[in-house]
């Protein structure tokens, strides 16, 4: 990061729309860890996640004209691009498909890699993961990071389709309660 300059979100958006590469550098420095974290959680592979991160930032740079601050915050827009790009990659590659099947298989609930990336040592995250039940963690991560549908989740967790939304609601409410304590 290094630079002492800080930009507000609207300054940043204006700078990006004016094709200012300094603003873009600032955007990268501030948001790449979060977006890389998403790519890594989705893909579970640093090399692929790095490639996808590059794609994500190019999409942001080339598509900034389409960002509309009326519709939501810049970060939300970028997170959506990051998730969609990473999930598209996850679903498009046949060997990734194999990996996903492996994760969704018998070890989905037992697998910690689905929920925790081993290199994460953030205190807040540790707290969240301790207080969230494994099932809650898994249901959030399957939907959010793996792009699974309600139907897929019902089958994977072996619960009725009608209760997927309720479980998700409870999981997210629990997550938000924990986050409030951090």
């Amino acid at each position: 990061m290094g630079s002492a300059v800080t930009y507000t979100e609207s300054e940043l958006v204006l700078g990006l729309k004016a094709r200012n590469e300094k603003h873009f550098g600032y955007l990268y420095d501030h948001y790449s860890p979060a977006l890389y974290g998403i790519a890594l959680k989705v893909l579970n592979d640093e090399a692929t996640a790095g490639d996808v991160l590059q794609e994500i930032f190019l999409k942001i740079w080339r598509g900034i004209e389409r960002y509309d601050s009326e519709k939501g915050r810049l970060f939300t827009w970028m997170v959506n691009i990051a998730r969609n790009t990473a999930i598209d990659t996850l679903r498009s590659k046949s060997h990734k498909m194999g990996q996903k099947v492996a994760e969704l298989g018998s070890n989905a609930l037992a697998s910690d890699q689905l929920a925790i990336h081993p290199s994460v040592d953030h205190l807040g995250l540790v707290k969240v993961l301790e207080q969230l039940s494994k099932e809650q963690r898994v249901i959030i991560d399957l939907a959010y990071y793996k792009g699974c549908t309600q139907d897929e989740i019902a089958k994977i967790l072996d619960i009725p389709l009608g209760t997927v939304k309720t479980r998700m609601r409870n999981a997210i409410i629990q997550l938000r309660n924990i986050l409030k304590q951090i």
């Binding site: 590469e21 420095d29 590059q54 099947v101 018998s106 309720t166 609601r169 997550l175």
Partner: protein, 277 residues
Amino acid sequence: MDASRFISSGLIEAYVSGLATSNEIEELERGMAQYPEVRAAVDDCQLDMEQYVTLQAKTPKPEVKQNILRIIADEETAKENGTYVEETAIAFPNEEKVYVSSAWRWIAAAVFVALLGSLYMNYIYSGQINDYKGRYEALLSSQNSMASESNLYRTRLEQMEASMNIVKSPSMKAVKMSGTKPFPTALATVYWNQQSKEVFVMVNNLPEPAADKQYQLWAIVGGKPVDMGVFETGNKDELLHKMKSIDNAEMFAITLENKGGSPSPTLDQMYVAGKAS
């Protein structure tokens, strides 16, 4: 649905977690437009979800930034030069969508999950087998190509060695044949074994003949040309061409003749000639 029903329905959580179907998204977006408190509830939930995401942040390798900056700098330069080709039509089909199921994904998901157990095994094992098969085939083909290459070199080496042995023989006599007036740069050598009477010809420099032509070696015996046979020049590995044997000769010469050779030499097509003694 009123605002409180929206908030307690689980729709907001489904939307924020990416679980909502396209119908549910439409329904919620209508609610957000209609009730500010629904919109606020969605925003709050989204903020918390983003906090969860941010907790899992990880700094990427510095090369990624360098790559991106280089690509966009190149693009900007290209735009200034007017050579930039817009990629957006392919690059952003649906960047702002929330990841949702469509009809085919529903069907695919059902099939997919029903077959999960068997797919799991199939994917894992066939993936591995294909991987090994692919690697095995790659190795095999590279081994084959190395083997055939090594055969090729061995053949060449054997040919060279055979040629060397012929030339090395103490009873071998070399007859240098220089270019004639019309072909001053032409050069060839006859190796003539004085014991076995075998004759070999080596091309030092002769132009490649037309497809219907061949070089023919002649020995001049008692002032008369004697046919020593024709030879090909195409194979550069074949240094020495074995010709007919002859007991004695005053001269050797090479002419270019129609394929298969002529009974008597075409004198204006004589490329080289050399005295044998």
